[in-house]
Amino acid sequence: MTDNSDNTPNPFDPASLRLDQSYADTVGVKKLLTTVPVRKPNRQDFVRVHPDLAYRLTPAAIIEVKEDREVYLVTPEMAQALPGEFATVTLFTTINRQGTLHLWPVKLPNPEGRQNEWHRSAAEGAERATKKWVRVTASMSLGAYEIFEASGDLPDPVWPDFSFQEILKIAFRDRIVDRADHPLVQRLQGIV
């Protein structure tokens, strides 16, 4: 057994005894994204839209089944087979101040280039939300959405580490209309 004092632990050099405390770098826990609603922002929510164009889908064909409060994504091939049944929208990746992600569908102008004030104001709100925190509220008297921009110097959102394809897949998990015998197609065609 050595009596070499150099080999004995030295409590008088505490800096050399310091243990790491960077839990965030060492703990392998990741928040899972399991639900992505497809809806317009809540009227109380300030939201941001992902500024990267790769995080939006346009044009996208969707069918909103109001009684079930469900939104279906229609593949381009099926869209051709369902004229008049779907809406053409841009799907914006959107996040609120609580960090909740959702897809915001904003209707595009019709083939003639016409767009009502609701859709135009919503599109404007979404574009503004790429740079600022905004809140959009329906105003019946105005016939359009009112857009409120947060005046405080709020920090930018932290976007979850998911690709748009992953987000889209989660949002429309089992609600993609991609075949003629899809139950929604059959329902629309009166074949049940």
Partner: protein
Amino acid sequence: MAELLTCRCPTDQVGSDAACQAEWGAQDTRRLARQASATLPAADGGRATEGGRPPLDLLPFAEIWAVDFEFGSEPGENPAPVCLVAWELRSGRKVRLWRDEFGSAPPYPTGPTALFVAYYASAEIGCHLGLDWLVPERVLDLYTEFRNRTNGVPTENGSGLLGALAYHGLDGIGTVEKEEMRELVLRGGPWTDAEREAILEYCESDVAALARLLPVMLPSIDLPRALLRGRYMVAAARMERSGVPIDGETLGRLRHHWSDIQDQLIADIDAKYGVFDGRTFKVDRFADWLARNNIPWPRLESGRLDLSDGTFREMARAYPVVAPLRELRAALSEMRLSALPVGRDGRNRTMLSAFRARTGRNQPSNTRFIFGPSVWLRGLIKPPPGYGIAYIDWAQQEFGIAAALSGDPLMMDAYRSGDPYLAFAKQAGAAPADATKATHKAIRDQFKSTVLAVQYGMGADALAQRIGQPPIRARELLRLHRETYRVFWRWSDAAVDRAILNGSLHTVFGWRVGVPAVSNERSLRNFPMQANGAEMLRLACCLGTEWGIEVCAPVHDAVLICAPLERLDAEVARMRQAMAEASRIVLDGFELGTDAHIVRYPDRYMDERGEVMWARVINLINGQLPEAA
């Protein structure tokens, strides 16, 4: 006459080697040998490691001394050593010294090549200090290590030596027998020869217990950091020896009049509330008073009013009208003036109970420590003539620790600003860049409450109550904290995840807390700040005491020091330097600031929270109470 017993056998053979026992027999120590045979560890040291080598062989020390003192201690006085037994665990050398044999130096080396092993070592170190012996440089305290191993999970038999033995499946003497022997020691001398022998045997039984415990515990001990904890036990002994200077005259008058004072206080304060019947607090009357004053008091799950001091403290902040009642209740229920131990030199001394708290903080008895919860009583703290004292604390220590350990740049900026609460308001966009404490007091107060709420793990409802705002505002403030300090929150969430995944959390110096199956997330989340704050304080106390500063007491995130008036300012500067250095070491270079509250004789220390109560009591003594016969 000291009994210096030696044996050439290595410790792990003692008791199993007949030749060894024969050698002891030659020294007329058959009794001791029999005892050793019955109590020393088995040949494998209890648990072989690394290729079958006994754990003690792995310790990088030339000598390993298991040491125990027996000592008497009158309330408030320093320990008076009665006897010492020390075993060197490699050679088997043994020392038994009675108090008239102590001499001027310890009978074992105290340098870095010798390991000093004890159970609750500050007691042994306190005896060293009392004997004016050098203190050991390498202290392994099996108490701190047992606490560290079992912290956060219940132990059936407590954390004392007997509890540690039982935990490890080892035999110890009976609790009753131990108490009887302690009483015999505390009774004081003179002792008969038989009593003296019994005390020495009892002392030796504790050393034998250490010798059995050490090899069993060693495999789970993180030695380098255990020695750092041992270093603190030396500092604790020095602080316990120093004690806190008390105004003995005023204490005497308080004790003399205390019974009358209590009645007067009730009559005086309760006149506004009408909730006491004699000295009894009547809950139904209190409920009526709350109803009359429209105060929504928290209730327990049972539906009864929550009358804990914590609730009174919170409610007193939201409803200041409650504050005098809280102080009165504290004064009546918690203060035991007779229990406050003050030595003949006017110092309040009590065991600091180092590492007793879950966070590793000291946890001295509330009734025996002047810094207990009755803050007004701190007015008794007064430097002796020619001296001054200073209460030095870290500025916003928890916030600084959270900022530095999480690495949140905004939080660190806020700390460095000197006013993290206002900085938080600015960073969250709630106050302009040129806002000051004066121009934006209300906003600052709200953001300060939010920071504290996060530190306490408070929810929106409690914060709303604290700031007198609707819950929606409290939720907004808490959200702003999460959004502003995202890096901190990611780190804090990860700390909780780690605790639950790994079953424990630890500080920068390895103080760990085990996580039971059902754990309190709020407590886990707060652990890194509290427990690393405790590390910081311990390190500062080590530095301060080693630099020769008279540190009277550690107090949560502060120390109280004492110095002659002509050196007071210099000593304050040195202590602040020690605290800055401790913060840099714990926080990997990030330095926390300190504030010093200096009191020079003949002034007394005063906690502002207790000023009103102190003045009320002193007025009662000075003017309204008849002198007791």
